[in-house]
Symmetry: C2
Subunit: 340 residues, 2 copies
Amino acid sequence: MTTEQVPGRTVPTLEAVAARAGVSRATVSRVVNGSPKVTAEVVAAVERAIADLNYVPNRAARSLASRRTQVVALVVPESTAKVFADPFFASIVQGVALSLADTEYTLNMVISSETNPDKTRRYLMGGNVDGALVVSHHSGDHSYAQLGTSLPLVFGGRPVSESEHASYYVDVDNVAGARTATEHLIERGRRNIALITGPQDMPAGLDRYTGWKQAMDAAGLDSTQVAYGDFSPASGLEAMRRLLAAGRPIDGLFAANDQMAAGAYSAIHEAGLSIPGDVAVVGYDDDSFGLMSTPPLTTVHQPSIGLGEAMARILVRRLAGEPVDRVTLLPTELVIRQST
Amino acid sequence: MTTEQVPGRTVPTLEAVAARAGVSRATVSRVVNGSPKVTAEVVAAVERAIADLNYVPNRAARSLASRRTQVVALVVPESTAKVFADPFFASIVQGVALSLADTEYTLNMVISSETNPDKTRRYLMGGNVDGALVVSHHSGDHSYAQLGTSLPLVFGGRPVSESEHASYYVDVDNVAGARTATEHLIERGRRNIALITGPQDMPAGLDRYTGWKQAMDAAGLDSTQVAYGDFSPASGLEAMRRLLAAGRPIDGLFAANDQMAAGAYSAIHEAGLSIPGDVAVVGYDDDSFGLMSTPPLTTVHQPSIGLGEAMARILVRRLAGEPVDRVTLLPTELVIRQST
DNA sequence: CTGAAAGCGCTAACAC
DNA sequence: GTGTTAGCGCTTTCAG
């Protein structure tokens, strides 16, 4: 299949550098790897030779000899890739890439086919990478967790079941974010605050429910007006209709994501109610749905780039043998716009 | 910096497979690489051994020996990465990743720092990759083109100046897309069609102007109502205000992207005009701005995932030594919604 | 502190 | 067809 392609090493080898600097290859290797026990003069000579020759170490050779690849994989389940346009996910990739750019590590994007997950597993276990980052979006799927015992792994998003293989993961503090959002509604004087959340088998759906309930309970408010959606605008529309149809007073709404909030807007409007006059609304995610809706949606902003950066940073630390916490929770920020 | 991490090869070596299958290492290598001249029986024996041992070839060793890396880089200028949330770009990445998943190649994401572009150049030229894909979004920046002489490169987006190093690139057919958009406006009976386009030093801005002009000229319509923006909503708002302030009749508008169209909506509304009643509007990009505006925007959809797929496919073909066209133009599709 | 020597796991002529 | 023999370019004991 692939032939013809033999670039024919255009860069000089370590050997050439050694010759030019008048030292052994071992010494050049030491300099390149920053070994402390090399005379300053020798270091200078070698570095000059490296610069003169424009030498670049060969990754494959280095990897083969050191039994380290200097590669970390970013594993993206195919289903997540489908929603790649999801800006939240795109930002994570960006954060990972930026964070890794400052290290010796190289980023390998792997789309793991759901029909053939073994291909990815074999790739990861085949000594091709030093570690891996696994993102699974809202699903909390940690099916790769078992690999964690033999390969350093860091997950994006907490696992559905906490006990699951005791993975390392970084996530946004969904509970706190939802609590803050709800408290904001309460501060605005709302008392009958409904919730539209996501499936309770997804961490995001569950945690945002928890945060809302914490705030409601703390304020001594009734926390029974709850409807469930699937994070889509359509489901938000339906959920709000059900809430409204129940006939109980509602002057505030917290939706577990902006898309469902956008759907809820429609239901609120079709019921002849105004936002925020009759119903104040807070969303979650701070995506374009919230930004472009009328009125602009007050929502919870998540540090998506920061999430990616944190994932990468934590993996690199683990690879360096430094101790790191298994769980890293990133703070959210309430963005107040005109819907509250 | 990075120590401690020595996974300690958990997978068996080719040697082990050879021993188990009772053949030489060379033969195992042949089987693994699908050489045609190996007895069916031997192939079977080797494959069984491979399966039994759960053998996975070591990439570094293979790469070192074959002088081929089986890696292709996806180079993203840092400035583009900033707008990573740009769904168009995210889709390209997705397309590339998906397309590469079916090949022997692995995807290396490289964020090229603009402050230190040499780092990326050295990485690319250091024999770390077999080829590279370079995306530069709307800018048409082909500053890596020079590398194309020594490393197979495929660009996303056409270069600003066509002659520039005669790069290989794939792009969306902006001219045709803009022409179709404008023709649609004409078919709807509009005659005074204005244009808001982007900077003329960006291919996207220039080509969309060209397509609009072609359609206008072909229909014998006046093509002088033109304003320029920078692809942002704010610039679209300003541009439309200027157009309207000029006092000449306008019953149609083609905006070179949806974001500027969204801005133009505001200007049209503030002038007390209706869409599409008074002014029919067509955008370009088919992003969420157009989808969420009121009324939903008729726009030109670009095959963004297809663009990424095409880039990867073309690079892989080049690496395989197959002849491929330097230029690949992907067709666009007009999405008719309620603004026309 | 520096050099010599022995591989890392695999591929690619070259023989047989 | 299959085995033998050299390395690919680098790191890493082990001497000195």
